[in-house]
């Protein structure tokens, strides 16, 4: 595809459920980022991959959050035992050189 693709676009989960959010980056982009954007706030860094290596996961808010990129392309962000405070838009971005990021439209997660 021409851009970064994220799915699903919307996800409603009951508190305590596990969710998996998918990101398809632009083909050939080495770097992949996950950000969390709460309502009315700017994006907050979660984690960063270079190819399949997760080089920085310091922004993950708890051990319920887990991200992977096993073949260096598609990435999945998994949230276990979701809580209401996890409700946010989750943004994925990819880049060639980590200077100009290309963002997907995001997955809006609502935890009831």
């Amino acid at each position: 595809g021409a851009g970064v693709s994220q799915s699903p676009r919307y996800k409603v989960a009951k508190r305590g459920q596990d969710v998996a959010l998918r990101c398809d980056p632009i083909s050939g982009h080495v770097s992949l980022f996950w950000y969390q954007q709460a309502l009315g706030q700017g994006p907050e860094f979660l984690t960063y991959f270079q190819n399949e290596a997760q080089l920085d996961k310091s922004g993950l808010p708890s051990d319920r959050f887990f991200a992977e990129r096993p073949e260096g392309s598609v990435s999945t962000l998994k949230i276990q035992r979701t809580q209401q405070e996890d409700s946010a838009v989750y943004l994925c971005a990819s880049s060639e050189k980590s200077e100009k990021l290309f963002f997907g439209s995001g997955t809006q997660l609502s935890v009831l």
């Binding site: 943004l91 997907g104 439209s105």
Partner: protein, 114 residues
């Protein structure tokens, strides 16, 4: 730690008037500075960046920004605003080489009035 402040929640400007969106930053070492724009139901789009060199950088859609090291600012400007410029604007910063973690401001809603 790196951080960005965007002091105004909303900027209202008449079409055809100059537009300024303010940003100040805090970072250790030399900053890499960015502006992104977010239209409704769309992802953030890159506008421009400052890495090094000329303090005035030009970007997409007629926008420009000026890096001011002494004031730690990176204000976004456009000489003549269009209604289509109405969107949410984010300033972002990261430390230089070796740091891939971007810190974003909370964003400024720009409303251009016809």
């Amino acid at each position: 730690a790196q951080s960005v402040a965007q002091p105004e929640d909303q900027v209202n400007v008449a079409e055809g008037n100059p537009l300024t969106v303010k940003c100040t930053y805090s970072v250790s070492g030399n900053p890499y500075l960015f502006w992104y724009v977010q239209y409704p139901n769309r992802g953030l789009q890159f506008l421009l960046k400052y890495i090094t060199g000329d303090n005035l950088v030009k970007g997409s859609y007629g926008f420009e920004a000026e890096f001011n090291k002494s004031q730690t600012s990176f204000h976004l400007k456009k000489p003549s605003a269009l209604v289509s410029d109405s969107a949410l604007y984010f300033c972002a910063v990261r430390a230089g080489y070796g740091n891939n973690r971007l810190a974003f401001g909370k964003g400024n809603q720009v409303v251009v009035i016809p």
